[in-house]
Amino acid sequence: MIELSHIDRHFQVGDQRVKALDDINLHIGAGEYVSIMGPSGSGKSTLLNLIGLLDRPSAGSYRLDGTDVTALSDVEQAQVRNSQIGFVFQMFHLVPRLTAAENVALPLLLAGMTAEARQPLVASALEALGMADRSHHRPEQLSGGQRQRVAIARATVTKPRVLLADEPTGNLDQKAGGDVLAILEGLVDAGITLIMVTHDPAMGGRAQRQLAMRDGRLVSDEQGSPHGDP
């Protein structure tokens, strides 16, 4: 469903041209569990942002479900992000003044859904992540693991087909990180396509498909052991 061919992404830094992505060719099928690993500066986050339509390639084509999404307008790209892609960030990025339920409702609100229509979807998304009893808490009243669960609820409330996670456990302790990873893997079992960027080989190693990047290039693409194995 995700087809990248000959993708380049350059940045101009001073008078130097930096190649963040260099001729990336990648096909990811529906329901795949993919990890992207590599040292910092290898371009793994840039690749994730590009897949998430937060960034545009300098060259090459990106087809999502057969549609060339690089040709879409800003508004159309926003609609694709809203309905088909979910993001999970290292920093959680919850809006601090809103409650957990209001944070989860944001994508639906932006999609123009009424409060009455949003309410059951928000409730079931929070329920699925075991956060139903925290729905009226603000982020500052929640632990890191709970915040990330609210963020995952927000990412999944629109029932996207692709979930993009950028170091989702980077700000969590081991226990909470393990819980969050288990939740994400549970979503894969339910059929979602998960692409996760991490610098932690132990975490990346759990994915079925493991990509490694260095200096903007894909250097390896391995089918690993299926997750769930301890």
């Binding site: 937060l54 926003a78 993001f87 003044r97 944001l106």
Partner: protein, 404 residues
Amino acid sequence: MATPSRDVARFAWQALAGYPVRTLLMLIAMAIGVGSVVVLTALGEGARGYVTGEFASLGTNLVVVLPGRTETARLNPGAMFGETPRDLTLGDARALTRSSRVRRVAPLNVGSVTVSHGPRSRDVVMLGSTSDLLPVRHWRMARGSFLPVMASDRAMPVAVIGQTLREELFGAEGALGEWLRIGDRRFRVIGILGSRGRSIGVDTDETIIIPVAAAQQLLNTQSLFRILVEARSREDIEPVRDFVEAAIAERHQGERDVTVITQDAVLSTFDDILGALTLAVGGIAAISLAVAGILIMNVMLVAVSERTAEIGLLKAIGATPRQIVTLILAEASLLSFLGALLGLALGQASALGLRLALPMLPAYPPPWVIAVVVTVAMVTGIVFSVLPARTAARLDPVRALARR
């Protein structure tokens, strides 16, 4: 992807409530701008209302005839010394009654005299006139009656006195029917004027009014100080003015040697001046509104950079640039609206305080000012937020999210 406006308003409200200090500062800036426009225009209107009221208390539809001419075509030497070639006389005054457009004519003599009753005496302003003076000046009687209707050359020895004069001459005793002296003449008190405070020029409380012929004898003159002519209606004022000039000229061998002032002309001049003053003062106050607008722009720019990560997130979860602009502008307009409301309350409270402190000043802000000031505040707030909103909409989500 149109977000329901209720949700936009709610989001904007939460954004404002989430940063109380910033919100409060902007509300105060907006409120001061709006409030100062309201209170300063109220002050201007009050001044205008005060002057207009004072003029109206002189009488309505008045045409005043003064001896002498201030702008003669031909310079006459007498005018230089305040002398006039020909006096205004009672005959002139009588001649002015011969027009259907004239309702009343009150000849007027003014002099400073000493009035005494028994051992008590008092220096006051004496007015000599006819029965028409009372309705022309819109005075009312407290007790007794005004000068009787009679031929204006009859020097009947009767007098109408003001409240203060009555107290000072008669104290607690009844004054009606009593005699008092002016110079070597005796007058019987037939009425007491109702108190109405000061109206321009004359303090009715400290006045004595006697028939004009008697006043002329006391002052030893044939001439009049003024003739007050009341036209039947507002439309009659100009024709009456022309009639007066023609009638007097005919009696004065063709000399146009009187000055005719219409109250309207004087009033409208004052009205224009004070109206312009209100506008000027309001305009100066409006500068503070513009300052408030610029402050809103600055604070919204800070707000946008403070909330960079949030805006990046909104983009990541599918907000279009237009939705970002809508959210920021909704925040600004809500802020401006609340600020304007607060400012109106502030302005109205100050105007009320002003009215309590200066009761003679009807300091009400004109209704159009309220409509204009709220509109201007909203427009200012929104216009000055367009730049911050566009900045937010153009934010690169990748970089916005990378920031802490």
